[in-house]
C-alpha cells in the first residue's frame, strides 16, 4: 500500500450531484458520506468502515467493498489497488446473536 500523507484541507468540501446515491445498501451510506469521510481524513478502507459502518451490514461488504474502494481512490487521486481492503474479520458472515451466544465452550481437543 502506498504511503498516505495526511494534511489538513485548505479548500472547502465540494458537493457533487450524485452525492445522494446509496453505495452501501445494508447500512444506507451514500457516496457523499464516503467522500466527506475522506475529506475528514479517513483514507483507507478500514478507516472509512469504522467511521461510517460501510461494509458492516448484512452482506459484510460483499456488494459495496469495491465501490467504496473506487470512491476513496478517486477522492485521494490514487489507484484502487493502493487504497487497501477491509481487513477480514470473524464472523465473515452475519451470525444471529442467539447462535453467537451458543458458543461451544468445550475447546479441548477430542
Amino acid at each position: 500500500m502506498a504511503k498516505i500523507i495526511r494534511t489538513a484541507h485548505t479548500e472547502p468540501f465540494v458537493e457533487k450531484p450524485d452525492d445522494d446515491m446509496i453505495i452501501c445498501r445494508c447500512e444506507e451510506i451514500t457516496k457523499g458520506e464516503i467522500r466527506r469521510a475522506v475529506y475528514d481524513g479517513m483514507s483507507t478502507m478500514n478507516e472509512v468502515k469504522r467511521y461510517l459502518r460501510s461494509g458492516m451490514g448484512l452482506c459484510q461488504g460483499q456488494t459495496c467493498q469495491r465501490l467504496v474502494q473506487n470512491i476513496i481512490a478517486a477522492e485521494m487521486k490514487m489507484k484502487p489497488t493502493e487504497v487497501g481492503m477491509i481487513q477480514g474479520r470473524s464472523p465473515v458472515r452475519p451470525v444471529e446473536i442467539g447462535i453467537f451466544s451458543n458458543n461451544k465452550t468445550d475447546v479441548k481437543e477430542e
Binding site: 489497488t81 481492503m85 481487513q87 464472523p91 465473515v92
Partner: protein
C-alpha cells in the same frame, strides 16, 4: 473440539475436487458449505460447459456438480451443509455456525475454496427492487423456477452476462438489450452469437445511468460512453424494461484468508483481493491454501484441477503420497491447467484487446466483438465455415481460440478436429464422410455448428441448427428464418426435428429455405 487432518471450506467444484483427491489418499477430511446443497456455482448452471472431455465439457453445469458429489459420497467424504465458516484463528482453528450453535474445529491443513461474489455498479436508482445480480437471476430461474421479470436489460457482456441472457430467453423473458461499457463483447463470441441470433441487440460502449421507477423498476436509461467510460450527454436512450440484470464480473470471496492474516493483494487479473500463493496454492501461513475462484476468477474446469493440485500438495506434506507421486500429479495438473489457460481468453490476457488474428492467422471478426454476431464476409476467412460438398455436411462458426473441444469427440465419423491444443479452432476433415447425425450440432457448447445440405431437397437448402427453446417446432411448421442478428430473412419450413438422449435436451432442428438464403438463415422463429 473436533480435529481433522484437512478442513475444506466450500463445496463448489474446487472444494469438492480437493476433498476427493485428499480422501483418495486416505486422509481424514471434512468439508463445510454454508449452502443447503453442495456444488457451489455449478448448481445454477444449466448450460453445456466448455473445456475438454476430461473437464466434463458439453455436460451441463449442474450435472458436473452431481457427478462430483456422487464421487465424493462414494469415497465417504464428510460434507457438512448449512455450515457457515465464520472465522479462521491461530493454529488453524475454525469456527463454524451449524446446528444453531458455534462449533470449533481444528485441522493440520485448511483449503479455502469459497468461490466468488458478484460485482455491482452504482447508478441512479440502482437500489430500486428489480435491479438484480445475474447470479440472483439464475438462482431464481434455475433453482426456484421463478421468472425474474418479463423485460430485461442485461448489463455486462462477459460470459456470465451472455449465458444468463440466453437462460432468461429460455425462461420466456424478453431481453431488451445486452450492454457493456467496454467497446467489445467480453465473453466468448459463440455465446454472444447464440443470443444475437434470437434478435437481442448489443450496445457496446454503453452503460446504464438510471433505473426508473419508485417501488420497482419501470425503465432503464442507457447512454454511450467515451473512452474514459464517461456517459456522453445527448446519447441517452430509455428502454422499456422491468428488470435490470447486472453481470459486471466477480470478486474472489477471500475474507477468510484475510481473517486468517494471510498476505493479501488486490490483483486486477485475478479479479480482486486474493491471498498471495505459492506455486502449490499455499498462502504465506503454512498449511493454509486457496483454490478455485477465491484464488483468482476462472472457470469451473480450472477450479476442479486447482482443487486437486492443491490437495495433492496437502497429501504430500502430510506424508500420504511420496515426493515422486506428488511431482507426477503436480506436473499433470499443471499441464492440464496450462492447456485451459491458452488462447485469447486466457487469464494472462485479461484486459488485452490487441488481438487481430487467431492463433491460426485468420482475421478476428470485428463485428462479433461490436455487435455479437459475424458478417458473412468475415466468416469467409474461416475454412470450417467455407466447407462445401454435395449432401449434408457441417459448417462451423466458431472463430475464437477458446478452450473447448466437445465437437471433436462428438462426431462418430471423426469429421471434426481440434487437435492436442484445445484452444485451436475446429477444422473439418474432408476425407471423412458426414452422415448428418447432428451430434456435433447438439454437443457444441457454443451452439456454433450448423449442418448444410444444398443438394438433397429440390425445393431449397436444408439448414440444421441447435434449438433449446420450448415448445419445439414440429415437422411441417412454417415460420420465419432469422439471420445471425435475429433479423427476419425469409420463410422457413421445418423438415426435421432430432432429439435423442445423447443430445441431452439440445434439439437439432432442420429448416428448408430458398437457396439464396443459405448463408444468412441461421435461426428460426415460429409465427
Amino acid at each position: 473440539m473436533k480435529r481433522h487432518e484437512l478442513i475444506v471450506i466450500g463445496a463448489g467444484p474446487a472444494g469438492l475436487s480437493a476433498a476427493i483427491e485428499a480422501k483418495k489418499s486416505g486422509m481424514d477430511v471434512i468439508v463445510f458449505d454454508e449452502n443447503s446443497r453442495p456444488g457451489g456455482q455449478l448448481f445454477k448452471q444449466i448450460h453445456k460447459f466448455f473445456g475438454s472431455k476430461e473437464h466434463h465439457a458439453k455436460e451441463r453445469g449442474f450435472k458436473i456438480g452431481e457427478s462430483l458429489l456422487a464421487e465424493a459420497e462414494e469415497l465417504g467424504v464428510k460434507v457438512e451443509l448449512n455450515a457457515t465458516v465464520m472465522g479462521i484463528y491461530e493454529n488453524k482453528e475454525v469456527t463454524v455456525k451449524m446446528n444453531g450453535e458455534v462449533d470449533h474445529f481444528k485441522a493440520d491443513k485448511i483449503i479455502i475454496a469459497t468461490g466468488a461474489a458478484e460485482n455491482m455498479i452504482p447508478f441512479k436508482g440502482w437500489n430500486i427492487p428489480g435491479v438484480i445480480g445475474a447470479g440472483a437471476a439464475q438462482a431464481m430461474m434455475n433453482l426456484q423456477g421463478v421468472k425474474p421479470g418479463s423485460k430485461i436489460l442485461m448489463v455486462g457482456s462477459g460470459n456470465v452476462g451472455l449465458v444468463v441472457s440466453f437462460q432468461l430467453l429460455q425462461a420466456g423473458c424478453e431481453v431488451a438489450a445486452v450492454i457493456d461499457a467496454a467497446p467489445r463483447v467480453g465473453g466468448y463470441g459463440v455465446h454472444a452469437a447464440k443470443v444475437a441470433r434470437t434478435g437481442v441487440p448489443f450496445y457496446l460502449s454503453h452503460t446504464v445511468i438510471e433505473a426508473k421507477g419508485t417501488d420497482h423498476v419501470s425503465g432503464a436509461v442507457i447512454a454511450e460512453v467515451d473512452s474514459h467510460f464517461q456517459p456522453i450527454p445527448g446519447t441517452e436512450k430509455e428502454l422499456d424494461v422491468d428488470t435490470i440484470c447486472i453481470a459486471v464480473g466477480l470478486s474472489p470471496m477471500s475474507q477468510l484468508a484475510s481473517n486468517a492474516k494471510c498476505d493479501m493483494a488486490l490483483i486486477p487479473q485475478k479479479g480482486g483481493n486474493v491471498a498471495l500463493l505459492s506455486e502449490y496454492g499455499e498462502t504465506n501461513i503454512k498449511g493454509i491454501y486457496c483454490a478455485g475462484d477465491v484464488a483468482g476468477i476462472e472457470e469451473a474446469s480450472s477450479a476442479m484441477i486447482q482443487g486437486r493440485s492443491v490437495a495433492s500438495h496437502v497429501c504430500y506434506s502430510l506424508g500420504y503420497i511420496t515426493e515422486e507421486e506428488f511431482n507426477t500429479k503436480y506436473d499433470s495438473y499443471q499441464e492440464a491447467l496450462g492447456k485451459l489457460r491458452m488462447g485469447m481468453f486466457a487469464p494472462a490476457n485479461k484486459g488485452r484487446n490487441d488481438f487481430t488474428v487467431t492463433d491460426e492467422g485468420y482475421p478476428i471478426s470485428k463485428n462479433l466483438l461490436a455487435k455479437g454476431y459475424m458478417t458473412e464476409e468475415e466468416l469467409e476467412n474461416f475454412p470450417a465455415y467455407n466447407y462445401k460438398k454435395a449432401g449434408v455436411h457441417p459448417i462451423i462458426e466458431c472463430t475464437q481460440n477458446i478452450p473447448c473441444n466437445p465437437c471433436q469427440d462428438a462426431c462418430p465419423k471423426k469429421c471434426i478436429k481440434v487437435g492436442e491444443n484445445i484452444t485451436m479452432l475446429p477444422q473439418i476433415d474432408e476425407e471423412q464422410g458426414c452422415i448428418g447425425c447432428g451430434l456435433c450440432v447438439a454437443s457444441c457448447s457454443g451452439q456454433a455448428i450448423f449442418l448444410m445440405d444444398e443438394t438433397s431437397d429440390p425445393d431449397g437448402v436444408l439448414i440444421s441448427f441447435p434449438y433449446e427453446f420450448l415448445p419445439l417446432p414440429e415437422v411441417g411448421d412454417k415460420g420465419t428464418a432469422l439471420s445471425r442478428s435475429g433479423a427476419p430473412v425469409c420463410e422457413a419450413v421445418i423438415t426435421d426435428v432430432k432429439k435423442t438422449k445423447v443430445m441431452d435436451k439440445t434439439a437439432v432442428v432442420t429448416m428448408r429455405v430458398p437457396h439464396e438464403f443459405k448463408n444468412s438463415a441461421r435461426f428460426y422463429k415460429p409465427v
